[in-house]
Symmetry: C4
Subunit: 178 residues, 4 copies
């Protein structure tokens, strides 16, 4: 319909991006994956995420996108971020290879800590690779206004990450009489 056209291939890329002195943080919604049941009905195969991308700065207003690292917030982690109260903080730990033979190799942790003066949050991503012996750290200070923007956008996205926007549509050919 929009730019997807009849070929069905068009994706839309839209992110909320926060550029700071040491790093850039970008957030975008990634939709759930569905599959078709034998009955013809459709079910959620894998829930969507809010994908966070961090890149290091390599100069004034220049960022090295080759060195980007990802952190994918699950719906519940998005719930945690959305509901951060005054002075609240949260931290998430991911192993991208969980449940596979490479489990334990890479460890990612995302931390959101409020500034003491209430003017915003420090958002940090640490990525440790135990095999490659590498360690990456990104620190992005996020103002209260930027966090509020992210919170509203994430609240909008959350029902879509669960697939609930697809549930609430229904065919109308079968509205009965009386």
């Amino acid at each position: 319909n929009f730019a997807s056209g009849p070929e069905g291939a068009g994706k839309v890329f839209a992110s909320y991006t926060i550029y700071k002195g040491k790093a850039v943080l970008s957030a975008e919604p990634v939709l759930p994956k569905f599959y078709k049941l034998d009955s013809g009905h459709v079910k959620v195969d894998r829930q969507g995420v809010i994908l966070l991308t961090f890149c290091p700065a390599i100069g004034e207003r220049k960022y090295d996108w080759e060195k980007k690292k990802f952190f994918a917030l699950s719906p519940t982690e998005v719930g945690s971020l959305i509901s951060l109260g005054a002075g609240g903080s949260c931290e998430f730990f991911h192993d991208p290879s969980m449940k596979s033979s490479a489990a334990g190799q890479v460890r990612k942790s995302l931390s959101i800590k409020p500034h003491a003066d209430g003017t915003g949050y420090m958002v940090s991503l640490n990525v440790v690779d135990n095999i490659e012996k590498t360690s990456d750290r990104f620190v992005v200070p996020v103002t209260a206004a930027e966090f509020a923007t992210l919170r509203v956008a994430a609240s909008f996205a959350l029902p879509h990450l669960l697939g609930w926007d697809r549930c609430i549509l229904q065919s109308t050919q079968d509205v009965p009489e009386n």
Copy 2:
């Protein structure tokens, strides 16, 4: 449009599911039912609900879906859940056979109580069947993040449960000049 296709049969199944040691709790929106008036207009016949499904655990990460029990939250009960304040709790009592000859046979109660330390809620369902002489109890501890996710998803669904999303669409063939 989505997977409903011209046959009009496709439903989409998407739930928010919380797996815990003793039981699993799953929530999904169920749409209202409409009917057509003689005038050709459409009216809500029965409002939608947020359907909660509880199943007992029968081993580590194994759940017995044959033993599932339901509790359907009406729009006003969803309003109660959404507006739970700090330290607030709520409890709902249902008789699935209310207004029928079987009234009083089955009694269901759903309780949402906050943990004293503010880290989340205990959600319990009790189902007593006075004829079969059975009593089922499910207890699911829900973290603050999980409850926030459920709250945002339920707030999204609520206008749809009332059918208000259908009201706010309108034909545009009749936009007058001037």
Copy 3:
């Protein structure tokens, strides 16, 4: 699309209705009216409202819909209702014949006052007709859960009452290259 079909006539009636001992209160969104400019663009002619309907009870669970009275909340009055804080109240005064020769004949006032114990609100409508010498009063106690439900539904409707949902759609035929 939904039940409007190619004939374009289908409306959808969906309300949130609160039945109490002395009266019933029903709320539904009424969409804005648009008109077409010479340029072919479309503009809001009259903003939408949340229409409140009150009826008196004439027996146990029986209501006299012939005696119904209306109160139409403008977008700003909806904003007032949505933002009622703890212990807050609001009151609105309408003259349905404002700006006409019948101005001053009928005076309506809607009042929303919190119960002292925080369990809900008393919603009252007074309609005084100075010519017919009639005075109608409806009082509906609304629980905190019912008010929360109304608040969420009204927040969903508000951008639609302003016509902002129509602004945020746009044709995609003109997405340029590069």
Copy 4:
């Protein structure tokens, strides 16, 4: 679809307008601009804004639209407005010719300050033109209800200003089996 028709030209104009004694303030969403990538996918070229328009009053309920001045709130500035807490204020500074040879010529500042008694906000726009030697000032007192209405409408618009509403649509032709 709506009034855009097959010609694709129809825009919809809908604003939230606050008329006061000295000036009028109008708010409307302006959508992002997209462009098509070589791959056929679509990307946000320029984010949307909430456009504020101020006009001076020239008599009782008469406004001089020829003298209108604009202030375009970016998504993050909208986040700032949405998240204003009790007693909070915010101020934004714009140079419309930033990054061009005319930089520094015109300086705009928008200020939102709460009334001490909590009944609303004073919204002021100052526009200073250093070349023309002109200075315009608009002051619009906004009630708590009017600000709440603006806050809800802006929260609705914000994900659309980022283009996130376009991300969360997806083609369904490719829902796989199993």
